[in-house]
């Protein structure tokens, strides 16, 4: 970013309190990533490596979400305008949700939801029944 930027960017800062130093040292050992004192941006190869690392991180996140977030995909598919592709997405989402359910992989989500609902009903007061927010 320009040196004359009028406002600081939160993305422009690197902040490592001392208390994290040991954790960071351990993470460096585990990940094998240990940038030198020089700014990593200066190195073309390092920039390409960072780009690949970022791409893989996002890819992993997307794949995990696609695999384990079937109910949300089903809910999204149900909002699509009727068409052949949206019908295929809907059916795939249905099949995938049922398969996940049968494999027991939906159980963690349900457990989290149950705990959250217990919190909602905390103090013996049921929250008012309100319609969902407009999509």
């Amino acid at each position: 970013m320009s040196e004359e930027s009028h406002l600081e960017s939160p993305l422009g800062e690197e902040f490592e309190p001392d208390s994290f130093a040991r954790m960071v040292a351990w993470l460096r050992r585990v990940s094998g990533y240990d940038p030198g004192a020089e700014d990593e941006e200066e190195d073309e190869l390092a920039a390409a490596r960072t780009q690949r690392w970022a791409g893989r991180s996002i890819l992993f996140a997307a794949v995990i979400l696609a695999l384990l977030n079937a109910p949300s995909i089903r809910s999204w598919a149900s909002t699509l305008d009727p068409s052949q592709p949206s019908e295929i997405i809907r059916k795939l989402a249905d099949v995938w949700t049922d398969s996940m359910d049968q494999a027991g992989l939906e159980e963690p989500r349900r457990a989290i939801r149950r705990a959250y609902d217990n919190w909602k009903a905390w103090g013996g007061v049921e929250p008012a029944q309100t319609p969902p927010a407009a999509p």
Binding site: E4, H6, R56, S57, F60, W119, A128, A133
Partner: protein, 468 residues
């Protein structure tokens, strides 16, 4: 297309992959980002893409002419023209109906009732943000704070870039144009912090803001006369938490999304409810707007120069117009007036307070400032003046709480308690996350999002600031 939706996730994945595959061709990359931004904007109403193009083209041309002008007088005339064009666009779409209505009321008072030409003008999403960006571009070129854009494409991208297009932050040309000069490069710290901001923003918006909105704030503000003082008090604090979590979530996600594409946006919030004075609050809340108002309105009006009366006048005008910027309604003007009035009071108090009087303890300053801000939020949120007055009158109506459940109160406490986290906790976590192998970082982000998905209510309401 809302950020916390599957549609946006798919859109962003496509944009991310394509943008980085064009990293050796900056021009094509920018052209692609402009097209993607138009798709993003057209998702609401494709007709206004033309308005975006026209606005960017006009600002580009005016800046070109300013740059080529040799006399100061001509430059001043051109910058005035640029500002007038932007304000005319904003005025027509946002304030036409409001001013015609007010004019009709004034004429009625004098017995000159007329049928004024009322038009049903559709408000383009984000118009307040991109017109302010246009104004800052032409003024900065005039002042020499930034060089004119190298091409129309840069101005198109500056004004249309989808992460900030509909609700800010208001990113200035001097911040963004230099970043467009070459293909950006990612750093691990930037990526890990961007992902943390996105996940954190999703939590604030889809869990805290949505629950508070649906369960507490909306029902109480809809009919304040039907609720007791306890409910009204809880909804006031609830709205303070909701609007912070909603708007700061949008800013966090916008900064994160832009960061993953390699661009840095300025910070827009800095724990605003920790402010010990209203002046301090405006250094922490919607920073890109408050600094915009300071640099393009308050300082040109005279700022802190001149007599005390002139400084107070400048403060009031700035805050009144800042209020009107939020919406064409008197409640917003009153909100601005309240803030302006308190800012003036703070200034006079600082200047004329007897030296022997003790300084207000910081904690007391925080509490007083927070409650003034909460009081002003009632004006900001109420649909009309009469509902705001009903709301205030209701504080004398004692009775049991009907909607303020322990859950919603605790969620409000969490929403406000965020302000007491270490101020750079996100950066600290990012400082560690950047050492993670990519599968670990991806899995950590995905699993956190799955927990958020598991608890959030059905459906996502638009962000509050979309209406502005």
């Amino acid at each position: 297309m809302l950020f916390p939706t599957m549609t946006f996730a798919i859109f962003f994945l496509f944009v991310f992959v394509t943008a980085w595959s064009l990293d050796r061709e900056n021009g094509r990359r920018k052209a692609f980002l402009v097209l993607a931004s138009w798709v993003f904007y057209g998702w609401w109403d494709w007709r206004f893409i033309g308005l975006l193009i026209a606005s960017a083209t006009l600002n580009f041309l005016v800046a070109e002419l300013i740059d080529r002008s040799e006399t100061r007088r001509r430059r001043l005339w051109l910058v005035g023209l640029g500002v007038a064009i932007n304000l005319t666009i904003l005025g027509f779409f946002k304030y036409y109906g409001f001013f015609v209505e007010q004019l009709g009321d004034v004429l009625k008072i004098f017995g000159w009732q007329r049928d004024l030409p009322l038009l049903q003008v559709v408000l383009p999403v984000g118009i307040s943000f991109f017109t302010f960006q246009g104004i800052s571009y032409v003024v900065d070129v005039h002042r020499g704070h930034c060089e004119k854009a190298r091409s129309l494409l840069d101005v198109m991208l500056l004004m249309s870039f989808f992460p900030h297009l509909v609700a800010g932050p208001i990113v200035r040309a001097s911040d963004l144009l230099p970043q467009f000069a070459q293909t950006p490069r990612l750093t691990r710290a930037m990526v890990s912090h961007a992902m943390i901001l996105i996940v954190w923003g999703l939590f604030k918006k889809t869990v805290i803001a949505s629950e508070l909105s649906v369960g507490l704030v909306d029902p109480v503000f809809f009919d304040p006369t039907a609720h007791s003082a306890l409910d009204l008090l809880a909804a006031t604090y609830g709205y303070a938490a909701q609007i912070y979590c909603d708007f700061s979530a949008y800013s966090d996600i916008a900064i994160g999304v832009a960061g993953l594409l390699g661009y840095r946006f300025p910070r827009n919030f800095d724990q605003p409810y920790r402010a010990a004075s209203l002046q301090d609050f405006w250094r922490r809340w919607h920073i890109s707007l408050s600094s915009w108002l300071r640099d393009y309105l308050y300082i040109p009006l005279g700022g802190g120069r001149g007599s005390e009366w002139k400084i107070c006048r400048n403060l009031m005008i700035t805050m009144l117009l800042g209020g009107l910027w939020h919406g064409a309604a008197w409640t917003f003007v009153a909100w601005g007036a309240l803030h302006g009035g308190v800012l003036v009071f703070e200034r006079l108090w600082k200047k004329f307070k007897p030296a022997a009087w003790p300084r207000l303890p910081t904690i007391l300053g925080i509490l007083i400032t927070f409650h003034i801000v909460c009081l002003s939020w009632i004006l900001f949120r109420a649909e009309s003046f009469s509902l705001a007055l009903d709301y205030l009158a209701g504080f004398g109506r004692w009775g049991p709480a009907s909607v303020a459940t322990p859950f919603l109160v605790s969620l409000t406490v969490i929403g406000l308690g965020i302000h007491f986290l270490p101020s750079r906790a996100g950066e600290a976590v990012a400082g560690m996350a950047k050492y993670l192998p990519s599968p670990a970082l991806g899995a950590a982000a995905a699993l956190t999002m799955l927990v958020i998905e598991a608890v959030r209510p059905e459906g996502i309401a638009p962000f509050i600031y979309f209406q502005f």
